[in-house]
Amino acid sequence: MEYFIQQLVNGITLGSIYGLIAIGYTMVYGIIGMINFAHGDIFMIGAFVALISFIIFGLTGVALPVILLLVLLIAMLFTACYGWTVEKLAYKPLRGSFRLAPLISALGMSIVLQNYVQVAQGARVKPMQPLISGGLEFFKNSEFVVTVSYLQIFIVVLTVILMGIFTYLITKTDLGRAQRACEQDRTMTALLGINVDRTISITFIIGSSLASVAGMMFVLYYGVIDFYIGFLAGIKAFTAAVLGGIGSLPGAMLGGLLIGLIETFWGGYVSLEYKDVAAFSVLIVVLIFFPTGFLGKPDIEKV
């Protein structure tokens, strides 16, 4: 039982990270209907920017909460620039062309970003000392002590806060309304005087910022990153987005949590080597029974 709770806590933490990345996939898919393959690498760049800023601020001796806030903002800002540029260079010229073109362009962009970081930052893994240590311990009398580290609390709380802001942004503001309108009918939205290009750019900026937060959490949580982390995290987050129903924002978060939990429980109870297999197998099984994911809208084709 205690072991189960421990796995649950770990799974939710991991799920928060996947969920934040998954939102970027699902938003972009919702608005322009493409799989933004480079999104995983945007997450990786976010992690690198966060790591670099942690090192810089680590030397200054500012208080920890201030460092965390500053790094968060810096990572969001710089990573958003990447997301924006990638969209402008590789996807915008392809709007309206056939379906596979942006996907291939995104694949190319993903290869470019990965190797660019490898060249600029070196291929070796980058370790970082843990910044937030300590935690709460439960069930001290039993055999297995459940530890909830402050870092895990930080990650989950930050995710909840960001999700709150994000949900407000999408449901209540003009920006969110424009975005949902673009999702439904881009031509009509343009006719009603909404700047579609700008809305799409902002989608990429929001998605990249959330991914960069996930990157920062990843650096803190695992303490080690390299240029290749974007690939696996990216496809798992995409799996999460599909699982939750691609195009649906609560679905992305739900899917992220599910993938995080499945992976952790599989690793904890069945076998650690095959934990990545578990996530994909579940995806295949779910898609057979719910072809559009859990919260996706049924897709009706009209002739």
């Binding site: 690198f48 090192i55 540029t85 392809l94 490898q118 496809i235 995409f238 799996t239 295949i284 898609l287």
Partner: protein, 422 residues
Amino acid sequence: MEKKDIIQSVKDSLFTGIIALALFGPIVGLRTASKGEGLFITPQWGLVFILVGLCILGRFLINLNSARKTEFTFFSKFTSKLSSVTEEKAKHLAITAILFAVVFPFLPFTDRYFMDVAIMILTYIMLGWGLNIVVGLAGLLDLGYVAFYAVGAYSYALIATTFGWSFWICLPLAGIFAAFFGILLGFPVLRLRGDYLAIVTLGFGEIIRIVLINWYEVTNGPDGITGIPRPSFFGLPFKRSPDEGEASFHTFFNLEYSTMHRIIFLYYLILVLALITNYFTLKIRKLPVGRAWEALREDEIACKSLGVNPTNTKLTAFAIGAMFGGFAGSFFATRQAFISPESFTFIESAIIVAIVVLGGMGSQTGVVLASIFLIGITEMFRDLEQFRMIAFGGAMVLIMVFKPKGILANRKPTILMHGDKK
């Protein structure tokens, strides 16, 4: 050009500069390096300023001459000319290309390096043609094609090392195994729509790779399988000193021993395999099942109403594509004599899909051109090992941006029902 325009383009270039500074500043400018314990930062501001300067200059020049437009028209004119030429003279071109491929090993400038690159290009051409059945003809985006390549390679390696059967028996078996895996995967997932299918196939590719890494008893894990038998020339091995009472290739034909013999044989082997794939594709396109594939790609609902069973039709495409992937895989295993899961990563799938799409989906000639172009680019940058993949990815983006339908986009649907489809 008016003054206003110049001011505008200067402003625009400066904006580009700011963005470039934000892009390159942290990642290029602050290089992290481990020294003893922990990480330290080595600034590289000089490099950042050069990069930012180049971006500003580039943007300014583009604005000034609207160079982008001329470049674009030049490029598209060139490729459309290329497609019309290849369409008109398809037969002559194909014959010339095949003749060139046949005499290639005996040309004066051909050395070992050229042969290796040529074998690699031909392997990708074969994979591209195999995947073209799935992606180009049936319109199913398969991002896990490398799984079938891996299944073919591993089944060849395991059968050949365990039972010691010859290449010519193992090759079809490997193909059958791969096709079987194709059906196994295809059966549950082919009902899914395009993008879902893409991600599931990607997941399948990863599953196969993880299983290969972890299933020590059979696959020997990350160490891979060594000592895979080399192919023999109809029973004549390519050995310097054959066993007692056995003839080897050079003793049988009274030739001086040379390692090139085996390479040339491998070259012809993959050439023949690739041509078989091509011939098969060209023929099956004209059969009912081939037409059903193309019809499904264009409009699934219309197909259903005309009595085509979409799942079975897609399944055949998937299985046949997987089979050719398996053939290519067993060739890869026999050529390398060593395989490990490292050779079957996602990037291979990405390269094969890129070859098919960049070539112009469904175009057989396009696959050849795209393979030569993409593999050629990576070979040209071979000395700059690190920049090679950047160039590769960049080329993918550029071709898509300037020519979204691929280098040879001569696939013309006869009738369009809904006008311009996304």
